[in-house]
Subunit: 222 residues, 2 copies
Amino acid sequence: MSSPTLARGNITRQANKKLRRQRILDIAKHLIASQGFEAFTLSHLAKEAGVSTPTIHNLFGKKDNIFQELVSQMVNTISLALSNPDVSDPIEGAEVFTDNLLRLYKQDEAFYRSAFMAADRTGLFDHKLPDGIFHQSLQIAERLCSEAKENGFLKGNIATGTLAEQLFACQRLARQDWVNGYIDLQRYRKQVLIGMYITYAADASPDFYKMLCNKINQLVDS
Amino acid sequence: MSSPTLARGNITRQANKKLRRQRILDIAKHLIASQGFEAFTLSHLAKEAGVSTPTIHNLFGKKDNIFQELVSQMVNTISLALSNPDVSDPIEGAEVFTDNLLRLYKQDEAFYRSAFMAADRTGLFDHKLPDGIFHQSLQIAERLCSEAKENGFLKGNIATGTLAEQLFACQRLARQDWVNGYIDLQRYRKQVLIGMYITYAADASPDFYKMLCNKINQLVDS
DNA sequence: CCACAGATTTAACTGCTCAGTAAAATTGAT
DNA sequence: ATCAATTTTACTGAGCAGTTAAATCTGTGG
């Protein structure tokens, strides 16, 4: 008897299938990012990809699977980009954190915008879940704050947890503005960093405070 | 010949029509706020209101008109609530500003959540337009900052415009979290005020700074 | 190079829900 | 009682996700 996965040309066929899936997923990204999440339909996708709708179903199954795949791919790449060695300097830490994300977004804006849209609309990442990139981002923010405090950058007048949440919030709002098409990535960077530096400044020791003010004014004038 | 608006019982009828419109608009609010914006359909609305779909069309015309009316009513009430005499104390100013909005939201949570949803989804308030409540909020934030600076609460290390934008951002993110159902109004207040106080603290003169720290820690522990 | 089995795609379709409409029936203010 | 305002029944026409069965393509062992 023959093994079920050993039909004649199946190995090659599965590989090709993956390629076709990815090609169509790429088109889906661009459609969502350009036309918006609500306007995205399987028939549009099929027409744009030059195939029929049953082909889409053959490759992905339900429509939701497409979103799940987009979000899953996004979470993986972001999670990877965030898992970097920590930085003892808080300013550099904030910049590295922001620029790591920014580099990713720049590589494939359509992808990340559409994936965030899909995740928001379908509730794919709920804020309560201790899982995923939100928790990871918040943890990084907390580490940035606690290390900054240990190294004398912060005075400790405000709880590090509170500061961390505020740092995270700055990043979150700017991301939403970008995903919704209100601002571009250049402005995203500016908005995030100004917000983070202002947050630091609320608890900064004198020397650090001066550096932050310089940084903020530099960014505002840029 | 008879005047066109003077058909027999028209004056009374128009008044009744207004009442019916408002009754159905109220049901629309609750439907959007409870089931979500995408799930809101005219047939659901008709069924819930105990009328047929053509009645909805007779009262409102296109579906979009319902959203426009919701948003328009919201903008009016918010605009009114924001146009209050200014406060020279920045902390009190922030609280008054926040609590004015909060009081409104509490009066009819379903209404404001659904109206913000509708406005966001249909692009009814675009961020670029110098019109409406966003611009008004930002102006209030700027007045708060510039008055605070004049009265010696702020040192002036950070441009008032920059601080104002950050104050506004705090309010905006918390509002979005509330509209999306992630947090309740109690947490909304906390989140907004902590954000605003942290922002102030970044440029606060020593005495004001101490007060802000107290306020922040008070809020965090509440 | 060729036959062929199964993987893949397709035309044609279902069943559903939507916003919106036309015309007949009903209501209600005077 | 009258007649316009209003509501309703019954209907479009369009778009949606997803299915079925027949046609087509494709990689490979011979």
